[in-house]
């Protein structure tokens, strides 16, 4: 049997260890595969939501000037069965908020309103249908009426005849007949044409094009629908690229964890590997054997991760359906993309195994004869490590400075590169930094943890490379989170400041008609009114509630036109909700890296506990209680967690501030309280990750001290 066969036989004998070694890869793959599933599903879903042109339209004409004169030309082309213009406009309704008003033929093959919820579709010029969200917000129902201010002239009254469901509704949305929307000053967006029986879309496109002239864009319906779908994809592409970057970061973190776990597992199998060398395995064979094991681990972990991602995907969508969410998309799984994710998982694992494999090949055959030396062979070469780390740190600073000078999007990419180089510096310097950590945070742990704490610090120092790997990955997760928190806090502060400049008062009335309404408002004792630069600024008088203020302003402007009333509270609430959403999404993405890191803490401790069974037995034999053993493991986790949290929060905070500068945003805010909470949270999570290994260590019987491992 070849050397790889022997090692793989060992893998088959203990399949659980493959999963443990590959746990970080599993998590990262779940994330990567989940990203793919999410991307494809979202892509397909958004396409169905944003393609507006009905499938019945064979030809679509886009008038360059939005004028209605082309409509009759297109309608009279030979082979055109029906031609309908789509008009749209944005108009203030009831002298207040602007609505989006779009035309629809209401009947026939080109009608886009296919989901009538209540009432009927409009037929006359004085009738409109509203979208569901609009109806809900404004408590409109069939029979209600609204006043729409046209381009010029007095407001026109419309009766609401029905409520329709539409794919997306960002503004208040209403639909009228083509004549009604044109009459409000609407613009002709496009002309949908149905072909007569026997006329192909291509032929009709040619004829229409000839009729309208070369300056007008004429597409087949299929081309138009494809273009609309593409627009939608482009709008979410930036988001998806962002998610991809974070999936990559999670994979980098997983690679560092896997490299560390391989090193530990191989150290534990030192005697076995040396025996292989004794009986004639070459160094190359040992290296290849370890890499083969890495490939198998990556394959198993990758498959497990993809399977988990699919399972989670189906479960989430099923849960959404069960919860009564309508319009739940179906999961789109693209096999070639998932296969690529699997390949990436395998490659990442094999890459991570290269270092440990080379180290394993350097185990001398004579090691088979000695006692199996647990722990790490050789002290870290502090000098060389510090030199390399220093060079990397300077490089990171250089790239960071360059990024700051360039600014904007390329600057941000440069900053990310600088961050990764800084991470590499941390990984290289890690084993040396562990000593510094033991001398600082370690002291606190010794004081708080007494003897178990002292043992924990000694344990961490005993395996500096392992401790450093755990810490650096966790620091990466914490750093990303801190950078995001700093960026969010700064953005929030900057946006709030600019909002305050924009809104010198609670309510701002602007526009040509504002001056006329100022005296009315000034006469109201409930309000404090100023006029500045043509804007009427309204604040509540002491004792006036916000609702009363709004009501007073609404009454005053009722029936007048040419005004825009804006509420600072609304703008602020909208800003808050936008920032909160972005923060939530960002933290979710960053959380994946943090999760990989926490898995790393757990796996490393589990392996260390397995390796130290004999020592644990000895401690039990000489009088350490079971809870003392558990405390020892927990303190080791807390030490790693604290080290990682401090390094990560500082580095991440600095990068977050530079990022804000690179993007040229106002406001530099370091959310000290939030960062401290993050540090405490990370220590807590690290200790939680230690629960299972600690329980296992606690079960080691004292007699294990005497039994040869």
């Amino acid at each position: 049997m070849k050397a790889s066969g022997v090692l793989l036989a060992e893998t088959r004998r203990r399949p659980g260890r493959v999963l443990l070694t590959g746990l970080a890869i599993i998590v990262a793959t779940v994330f990567a595969a989940g990203t793919l599933l999410f991307t494809d599903t979202l892509d397909a879903y958004v396409a169905t939501q944003t393609v507006q042109t009905p499938a019945t339209a064979a030809v679509v004409v886009t008038p360059p000037d939005g004028a209605g004169r082309l409509l009759s030309t297109v309608g009279s082309v030979d082979g055109a069965a029906t031609a309908v213009g789509v008009w749209s406009t944005y108009r203030p309704v009831n002298s207040g908020v602007t609505w989006s008003i779009t035309s629809d033929p209401m009947t026939g093959p080109l009608s886009r309103l296919t989901a009538l919820v209540t009432g009927r579709l409009p037929v006359a010029a004085g009738e409109m249908a509203v979208a569901t969200g609009t109806a809900e917000r404004l408590r409109l129902a069939p029979g209600s009426s609204v006043e729409v201010s046209p381009d010029s002239g007095p407001a026109r009254r419309f009766t609401i005849t029905g409520v329709v469901r539409v794919p997306s509704e960002s503004l208040n949305t209403a639909f009228g007949t083509p004549g009604a929307v044109e009459g409000l000053g609407g613009r002709l967006d496009q002309i949908d044409v149905v072909a007569a029986p026997g006329v192909s879309p291509e032929a009709l496109t040619g004829r229409v094009s000839a009729a309208v002239g070369p300056d007008v864009r004429v597409r087949t319906g299929d081309q138009q629908r494809a273009a609309e779908a593409e627009d939608a994809s482009a709008s979410i592409a930036a988001v998806l690229v962002g998610i991809g970057v974070f999936a990559g970061l999670a994979l980098v973190a997983a690679a560092v964890v896997v490299a560390s776990t391989f090193r530990i597992v191989l150290t534990q199998r030192r005697t076995q590997l040396a025996l292989l060398r004794c009986v004639g395995a070459t160094r190359g064979q040992i290296t290849r054997a370890v890499l083969a094991e890495g490939a198998v681990t990556g394959l198993v972990a990758g498959l497990a991760g993809i399977g988990a991602a699919l399972g989670i995907g189906y479960a989430v969508l099923a849960a959404m359906r069960a919860a009564g969410v309508d319009d739940v998309p179906t999961l789109v799984a693209t096999p070639p993309k998932l296969a690529a994710a699997l390949l990436v998982a395998v490659l990442t694992t094999v890459l991570a195994a290269i270092g440990p494999a080379l180290a394993a090949s350097r185990i001398p055959p004579v090691a088979a004869l000695g006692t199996a030396g647990a722990g790490e062979a050789g002290a870290p070469r502090a000098g060389r490590r510090l030199v390399v780390a220093g060079v990397l740190a300077v490089l990171a600073a250089g790239i960071g400075a360059l990024a700051l000078a360039v600014g904007a999007a390329p600057g941000l990419i440069g900053l990310a590169a600088s961050g990764m180089v800084a991470f590499a510096a941390l990984v290289v310097a890690g084993p040396v930094l562990v000593r510094a950590l033991a001398a600082t945070v370690g002291r606190v742990v010794v004081v708080l943890g007494r003897t178990p704490g002292r043992l924990a610090v000694a344990n961490a120092r005993e395996v500096p490379r392992r401790t450093a790997a755990t810490i650096s990955v966790l620091a990466l997760g914490v750093g990303l989170t801190s950078a995001l928190l700093v960026a969010m806090a700064s953005t929030r502060a900057g946006a709030t400041a600019s909002l305050d400049r924009e809104f010198p008062a609670d309510i701002v009335v602007a526009g040509a008609g504002a001056a006329a309404v100022a005296p009315v408002l000034e006469g109201d004792l409930r309000l404090v009114v100023r006029v500045e630069k043509g804007q009427v600024l309204v604040d509540p008088a002491p004792g006036t509630t916000e609702d009363a203020t709004r009501a007073a302003v609404t009454d005053a402007v009722a029936g007048r036109s040419g005004m825009l009333v804006r509420y600072a509270a609304d703008a602020r609430a909208q800003l808050e909700s936008t920032i909160d959403t972005v923060a939530l999404v960002g933290l979710g993405l960053v959380g994946m890296t943090a999760l990989v890191a926490v898995v790393g803490v757990g796996v490393t401790l589990a392996l260390s506990v397995a390796e130290r069974t004999r020592e644990t037995g000895l401690l039990r034999a000489v009088g350490l209680t079971r809870s003392g053993v558990r405390a020892m493991v927990a303190w080791e986790a807390a030490l790693s967690g604290a080290g990682a949290a401090l390094v990560g929060a500082v580095l991440g905070g600095v990068y977050g501030l530079i990022g804000v500068q690179v993007l040229g945003l106002d406001g530099l805010v370091v959310p000290v309280g939030t960062l401290l909470a993050l540090v405490a949270g990370v220590v807590l999570v690290a200790v939680l990750a230690a629960v299972a290994p600690a329980a296992r260590a606690g079960r080691v019987p004292p007699i294990r001290a005497l039994v040869d491992a």
Partner: protein, 247 residues
């Protein structure tokens, strides 16, 4: 010497596995370990001598029968009590030294006292370290010490708490004869000069000859005793045991 026995076994049975695969490591052993004496437990491989020590030291629990340390029935103690007993009343010396590699010699020596939250008597510690010739080695890690030095550190750790009894499992198994002699002589002095009780499990007749008495085990039962053993009498007794097996 009318002191009560330091440790006692009453019908001790230890069975590993069950059914057809059951192995009776101890098959009803009753014996007494005298206080203030150096006792060796001997027997061929598989005779149960290590198991007997594990049970008397509270490292393992008996299938049936009782093991006493002084007046304490170890079988009636929970894990927490056993931990405290091992920490406060027993000292251990193991074949493979069993020092914690991440601690220095001094930290290893002080470990049980630290775990107990006990104050170390500095004069006693100093005289012990001097007796064991470790004064220059206290700051070293175990990997920087020779086998004999490591075992002397383990001995210091065992004796520092003035335990009622010291259990040593093949303490010379991994040492050359000079270092082995040193360790055994030190164990002997701890009995003669300090009034301690030492139990050594060994299969080495020379090591057993340092003891005041030898308990011989075979097939999980007490097969005989020797008083004032010499290497030749121990060898003869062992030969007799093996012969009994052959017959």
């Amino acid at each position: 010497m009318n002191r009560p026995p330091a440790a006692r076994a009453a019908g001790l049975v230890k069975t590993y596995g069950r059914g057809d695969a059951a192995v009776h490591a101890l098959d009803g052993v009753s014996l007494e370990v005298p206080a203030a004496a150096f006792t060796a437990i001997m027997g061929p491989s598989g005779s149960g001598k290590s198991t007997l020590m594990h049970l008397l030291a509270g490292l393992d629990t008996a299938t049936s029968g009782q093991a006493f340390l002084g007046d304490t029935d170890l079988g009636a103690c929970g894990d927490r009590e056993l931990t405290a007993i091992r920490r406060d009343r027993i000292g251990f010396v193991f074949q493979s030294f069993n020092l914690l590699p991440q601690l220095t010699a001094a930290q290893n020596i002080d470990l049980p006292a630290q775990l107990a939250g006990r104050r170390v008597d500095p004069a006693w510690r100093e005289s012990l370290v001097g007796l064991l010739d470790l004064t220059d080695r206290l700051g070293h890690r175990p990997t920087q010490l020779s086998g004999g030095q490591q075992q002397r550190v383990a001995l210091a750790r065992a004796l520092l708490g003035r335990p009622e009894i010291v259990f040593a499992d093949e303490p010379t198994g991994n040492l050359d004869s000079a270092a082995g002699h040193e360790v055994l002589a030190l164990l002997q002095r701890s009995v003669r000069e300090l009034g301690g009780t030492v139990v050594v499990v060994t299969h080495d007749p020379v090591a057993a000859s340092y003891a005041d008495g030898v308990l011989l085990l075979r097939d999980g039962r007490l097969a005989g005793t020797l008083v004032a053993p010499r290497p030749d009498t121990v060898l003869a007794a062992l030969a007799e045991l093996s012969g009994a097996v052959a017959r």
